[in-house]
Amino acid sequence: MSEAELRRRIRLGAWGAAGFLAIVLPFVLPAYWSFVLVSAVTTSIVALSIVVLTGLVGQISLCQATFVGFGAYASARLTGDANVPFLIALPLSGLAAVPIGLLAGVPALRLRGLYLAIATLGFGAAVQATIFGNSTITGGISGVSFERPKMFGLDFAGDRSFYFLALAVLVLLIVFTVNVRRGKTGRAFAAIRDGEVAAAASGVSLARYKMMAFALSAFFAGVGGALFGHATLSVNSSSFDVFQSITFVTITIIAGVGSVAGALLAGMLLNIMPKALSGILPGNILLVILSTLLLVQLAVAPEGIVGQMRQQEDAVVRWILRRRGAPDAPAPVLEGR
């Protein structure tokens, strides 16, 4: 078996195991866990929006929660006030976040890295103050409420059934992301990420693809926000503040912003880990310990946990190939770090 084939099988096995767990866990775990799993899925969708923007295109946004908020409020209005069916309201909520994503992306036409981070942070704070904090628009502290959808004769009121609905959306978005990455757009994205000057010299329109990236990312985040709203049943003025944006970005980078797997891991780190450990320590102390551990993890592996796992995979592949004495086994390479 060649090295490529071996790697393909390892990946397939990992994804198979993940898919198996995603389907089996809600039936095995106690009922209250279903809501934790729903939260993990909606967080993963938001994290996926960051993977698209930062992992694929190399742009940074510290206002991702703003896009999430627009999606959530749009869905509340559409399903609540206008009685639009959930399945139609969901993509529309994503689209509702696109104009705000394009607006937030305008500074990216001239700014990169640190400066784009400051600009988007300021954008998020300004929108929080003017729109989310404005009680006539968003209902302020009391917020707006959502209902779980009913469709095709199915009732998604329960956490478990809503989990599978959210999971289906996540899978669709993952498939979409992978397709974008493989296509012409994905190659342009990668070119911009790896060097803007070289990309522009090769005829890639920086403005067009950067705007496309922000639009796509805002769409994903908006869909995630709509699902988040229908999952938690109510959102308020502080649901989408700057601190949420900061949490989303740091957790996604710690998990691994370069890959879809990183987005899934981010959802688990933020929701499943605190819940799993909640019996051991009081919640707020646990949160302090977990955020300390995550900070240490970032310092040790800025490439993310998934990046670390890739190195482990390399080691396993080499070990298997060496044991089999395969002719195409690569010479052992000394790790740089």
Binding site: Y115, A117, G122, Q128, T130, L287
Partner: protein, 292 residues
Amino acid sequence: MRSIGPVLILGLATGSIYALTALGVVIVYKATGVLNFAHGAMGMVAAFLFSSLTRQAIPTLLAAPVALVFSAALGVAVAYGLRPLRRAPRLTRAIFMLGLLALLQNLATAIWGIRPRIVPSLFPSGGVKIIGFVLGYDQVGIIVITLGLVGGLSAFFRYTKLGVGIRAVSSDQDAAALQGINVTRITVVAWVLGSVLAGIAGILISTPAADAFSLTLLVIQAFAAALLGRLVSLPATFVGGIVLGLLTTVPASLEILRPHAQVIPPVVSFLLIVGILMLRSETSLIARGNEA
């Protein structure tokens, strides 16, 4: 609209708060290349510690130095925490600071809860009357201390060996190391300085009461002021803070905008940040060292 005099005085007082907060951001960025997103959060922890100490009947003039010793220790911890990332891109180190912001926020919530805390003033109550407007002694204190820090720190960077060392490390780490400068020590000193400045700012501006979220988010206004000072010059940062103070208080005094006074600082800061960054030629901001 009220008469312009008091509005300008208020703008000066507010602006010196922004300037004071921005000083530490500029010093850390100058010395280490790290944009400290957690600057507000670091000041917040010092202010709340100060508040808790004074509740134990410890006099304010003793509690403040104790809280600042904690700030210094936090600075040392951050310097060593960042050590593994010293060759990482600037953005990665900024993300580390965002993680620290979240950690400090969680820490503050665990210890002090989420409600605003009463933070006593270091200055006597009352104030001086300037053109019909009473400027509290604490506001006068902030202006004087900020100006003193700008002067003192500028002299420190110019005339002391340590200050020149920090500048050497900031312009070229490797060359500084080859000249026999201990880069690690300089980095630690810069972080202690930055963290203590955050603590001073936090303690002074939190009176009479402050909540963790707004103190943490003050970093956005500090960035705007620091960017007006091009992230390098301390006197220019002071002027930047005052300009931002005036830009936020003057519109807030207009009759039509008064109901939205809360909204003005973040919006003005955002417009200023984007304006400065977009209008400035990119090279003048990123000429210094490796950018990411």
